[in-house]
């Protein structure tokens, strides 16, 4: 069984991202599925960031520690991650940093410096790179020093380029050495470098030379892990994409024609990727049928989120398929307009990339704290659809479905996706994103011209602006849209809103709104939502191996809430454990609100790092042993 884990750490702006992507590409070319994740800080240059890569024959479901190989491009990376390498693994580091003390690393977080001082103080030493490596060595890890300075000089000579222009290849040297130790032949690293830099051919050569020299150097020091055999997907083309990118792709495929946004992490990468592809080439069938070569999507950066959502609403009311995307602080600004969208019955999609709050919080980190906010956003009674995706491909398909739901039910749809999905990437096969079996069509009901007609199913005829004289207002209105405060007309509209929710509940099947995995007779039922899905599925396999049977209820839509299934699954279970990355246990709170069932145990993660599968295993076992109500897991640096 292949299960390789590699961590590449270094300063932001130091090529960590491209090193990580090259690693993913090398493994894909070798025939494996990959999962990669970027952990970074709210900073442009200098702060510590890292890339985690996991490689398996089937798609990895979760990240986990410890890793097999740590590539530490600077002293801070050694001192941050030296305990995250398994016995038998390797740490590649710059031998020139051996004497660096933690106290002299300016960007390093103070609390970490304090923890390090305390740790090394207990051993009677000081926190330096070499002391950290000693600790790792005692645990069976092999440190491999790369004399970066000398190697750089040799690369400069070999390529006949100035040293300054070569210094940016440090990341590739570290990576190539690390991949060699992980059992990957240099050939694949070279191919990955070429693939990565194909748009910048000038920098291919120095990077390839740097990789070769680094590998030449390490191979004399150590033979590394056994050479990796070819994976099952060798020769097959895979795509590697982040959740941000997949959602953008789904918007294009799903027929979106207007997207607005105001920059905010971790949502803007989605809008920017869509903007890059806003004028796209049609496929052959569409070319022939429409007589056009290309089609456009208006993607617009607005002055703020108030504008972003109001503009999307305006576009939708005029007939466009419209969406906006944002994160917590921006979503707060959108609140008033969500209420407006509900009242005027605007079909819009709001993609809400959750990050760790409260307030600006830790803006580049993982969190699942906006569920209640999304559900209860908007003043007044504001029924809407709230759907949360569990993984990258769910995020892709849910985007396509949400665009259709918004139209079919003339309602805002809030699509919750978390930061972990935004900036982690997976390998994908072609068929997985090929729209099959899910027709893409306009879903606006057009059976009349009374825009706010009171109907049996709560859905009124759709009349776009510009097609007839009318009025649309956020004030309460009569069927023709004109403002009214009449009590009878008011009741009719309120009841229509209720009936619309019932229709939504009836028409989106329960199987779509909740998914249940695992053995029917399991003693333990896990309840969760969002990106914890795959780590939970992975943990369930491990628990099974240890004789603990589990079942997993993944809630996907919170409005309308899948009461029947959740209620049935939980009431029959012996032990129910919620798994969430927020303080309150927001989904558990909603389970109680909608079903009356109280989830008694919680595994929570709050530190802004994605949850690992082994943390879930640990949490479940701990709860079963001790009966504790809440276990907070704390992995990741």
């Amino acid at each position: 069984m292949v299960d390789l884990k590699i961590l590449i750490g270094g300063p932001q702006g130091g090529g960590i991202e491209s090193a990580g992507q090259i690693a993913l590409k090398a493994f894909v070319l070798k025939g494996y599925h990959v999962l990669g994740s970027r952990e970074y800080q709210s900073n442009i240059m200098g702060a510590h960031s890292y890339y985690l890569v996991r490689v398996m024959r089937r798609r990895p479901r979760a990240l986990t520690l410890p890793v097999d190989v740590l590539v530490a491009l600077d002293a801070e990376s050694v001192l941050t991650h030296f305990e995250e390498v398994r016995p038998g693994g390797f740490i590649v580091y710059d031998s020139g940093t051996a004497n660096v003390k933690a106290s002299t690393i300016a960007p390093m977080a103070k609390p970490l410096k304090e923890r390090l001082s305390e740790f090394f103080g207990r051993r009677g030493s000081e926190p330096t790179v070499s002391e950290a490596l000693k600790v790792a060595e005692e645990r069976g890890v092999t440190p491999i020093g790369l004399p970066m300075k000398q190697l750089l000089r040799r690369v400069a000579e070999a390529t006949e380029r100035p040293l300054a222009s070569i210094s940016r290849t440090v990341n590739i040297m570290g990576l190539a050495a690390g991949l060699y130790l992980a059992g990957v032949e240099l050939e694949y690293v070279k191919d990955a470098i070429v693939a990565q830099f194909s748009a910048k051919p000038k920098i291919i050569k120095p990077n390839v030379v740097a990789a070769s020299m680094a590998v030449e150097h390490v191979s004399e020091l150590h033979e590394g892990l056994p050479r990796l055999e070819d994976g099952p997907l060798k020769g097959k083309q895979l795509m590697v994409a982040t959740g941000n990118e997949l959602v953008a792709m789904a918007k294009l495929v799903g027929g979106l024609s207007v997207q607005t946004y105001y920059p905010i992490t971790p949502s803007s990468d989605e809008a920017l990727y869509l903007e890059e592809h806003r004028y796209f080439e049609l496929n052959d069938v569409a070319k022939e049928r429409l007589g056009l070569e290309k089609m456009g999507i208006v993607v617009l950066q607005t002055e703020d989120e108030l504008s972003a959502i109001n503009m999307a609403i305006g576009a939708a009311l005029a007939g466009a398929r419209a969406a906006t995307s944002t994160s917590g602080p921006g979503f707060s600004l959108m609140n008033e307009a969500i209420s407006y969208a509900v009242t005027v019955e605007a079909p819009i999609l709001i993609t809400l990339w959750m990050r760790a709050g409260p307030s600006t919080g830790i803006p580049t980190r993982e969190g699942q704290q906006d569920l209640l906010h999304a559900l209860f956003s908007g003043h007044g009674d504001t029924p809407k659809i709230v759907v949360a995706s569990g993984d990258h491909l769910e995020a892709y398909w849910d985007t396509i479905k949400a665009l259709e739901w918004a139209e079919r039910f003339q309602t805002p749809v809030i699509h919750l996706v978390d930061k972990y999905l935004a900036s982690s990437m997976i390998s994908i096969e072609k068929r997985e994103i090929e729209p099959r079996g899910y027709p893409i069509m306009r879903a606006l009901k057009t059976d009349g011209d009374l825009r706010y007609k009171v109907t049996e199913d709560g859905i009124s005829p759709w009349v776009p602006l510009g097609s007839s004289t009318m009025v649309i207002t956020g004030l309460e209105h009569t069927e023709d849209g004109f403002a009214t405060e009449d009590p009878v007309a008011r009741d009719a509209m309120m009841e229509k809103r209720r009936r619309k929710m019932e229709t939504i509940k009836r028409e989106i099947p329960e199987e779509e709104r909740v998914r249940v995995y695992g053995a029917r007779d399991a003693d333990v039922v896990l309840v969760s939502w969002g990106s914890t899905k795959n780590p939970i599925l992975s943990a369930m396999e491990a628990l099974e191996g240890e004789g603990v049977g589990t079942r997993f209820v993944q809630i996907r839509t919170f409005f309308p809430f899948p009461e029947d299934t959740v209620s049935r699954e939980l009431s029959e279970a012996k032990t129910v454990i919620g798994v969430e990355q927020n303080l309150l246990g927001q989904a558990a709170f909603l389970v109680r609100a909608f079903t009356g069932y109280r989830v008694r145990h919680m595994i929570l993660k709050l530190n802004g790092r994605p949850i690992f599968d082994d943390e879930i295993v640990y949490g479940v076992k701990r709860i079963l042993e001790t009966g504790e109500e809440t276990v907070v897991v704390r992995g990741g640096s």
Partner: protein, 313 residues
């Protein structure tokens, strides 16, 4: 003339106070639309929240009543989705220059082909007379507990700084002149501002009809040519225009201050970026063929597909 202004009236009860300046502006809008012969189905009046925003209900069109302050982005969304529509914003000074001031600036930067009519009564009418952003400091209107201690914003200068390509100021009771300004603004291709000074007989007991009538005059009475045809002419004329816009006191100029024909409207920028946008705008373009998407993701997003590439380096 193909249509009568009566065709632009609706049967909704007009709920403004007797003598309100809004009546004059509404009248001018009805007449301007009739003279331009605009099909009400192609007209979108986007109203703000306030007494003035009620205009949405009193003009026959395919209309939208926005949130307080958000008429501009809402209207921009409509226009981007369907660039064939005529979009006119009717909002208060509080709405457009207070809570919505950010959008007032942004729309000018884009030069979207939209007309913004500011109902400038210097007070928050609907919330019972608080100071609006255009109320000069030191003035104490009826509902204020003391003289205003915040300075007024100059809507014309703000529009100039923001890139509006048509800037005019009218007076609510001079319906004939106002009608002409509104016609010119709607006909102009780009973002147009018509700032309409208006008495609020209920709450603004300082800036009354008499107060205005004693001060206002028209730019045409002097020599004034607002048209700018080249960037060079723009640089030359802007200081004069700005100086005129600053004039406020015993004499208050009315008329078209600027008509800038040098800047491309936003719709044309989009057409340039994505040829075909005007023919197949977002509101009506196909999204699929027989339920199948228009594009193949594996092809459009090919750069994400990991492939061995042959390269010599």
């Amino acid at each position: 003339m193909a249509r009568s202004f009566l065709e632009y009236k609706t049967d909704a009860w007009v709920q403004w106070c007797p003598g309100c300046g809004d009546f004059g502006i509404l009248n001018a809008i009805h007449r301007a639309l009739a003279e331009l012969d605009i099909d009400p189905r192609n007209l979108v009046v986007v109203g703000g929240i306030g007494c003035s925003g009620r205009t949405t209900f009193y003009v026959k069109g395919s209309n939208l009543h926005a949130l307080h302050g958000r008429a501009i982005p809402l209207a921009t969304g409509v226009k981007l989705a369907n660039p064939r529509l005529k979009v006119v914003i009717a909002g208060g000074d509080g709405d457009l220059l207070g809570i919505g001031a950010g959008h007032f600036v942004a729309v000018g930067r884009r030069n979207v082909d939209i007309t913004v009519i500011v109902f400038d009564n210097a007070v928050y009418g609907l919330t019972k007379g608080q100071a609006a952003p255009t109320l000069p400091s030191g003035v104490k209107t009826k509902a204020l507990p003391g003289p205003n201690i915040q300075d007024a914003v100059n809507p014309l200068l703000l529009a100039l700084a923001s890139g509006y390509t048509f800037i005019a100021r009218g007076y609510a009771y001079h319906t004939a002149q106002l009608k002409e300004m509104i016609k010119a603004a709607i006909s102009h291709r780009g973002t147009a501002l018509v700032d309409v000074l208006q008495p609020c007989p209920t709450y603004n007991n300082v800036m009354t009809n008499q107060w205005y009538e004693e001060r206002v005059y028209y730019l045409e009475e002097e020599e004034w040519d607002p048209v700018v045809k080249t960037p060079e002419e723009y640089r030359r004329k802007v200081p004069l225009i700005a100086a005129k816009m600053l004039e406020w006191g015993d004499r208050i100029p009315l008329g078209v201050f600027l008509k800038d024909e040098t800047k491309e409207p936003f719709e044309e920028r989009l057409e340039r970026q994505m040829p075909g946008y005007m023919d197949n705008p977002p509101s009506s373009r196909p999204i699929s063929v027989d339920g199948y998407p228009l594009a193949d993701p594996w092809k459009v997003f090919e750069e994400k597909v990991v492939k061995k590439v042959e390269a010599s380096y």
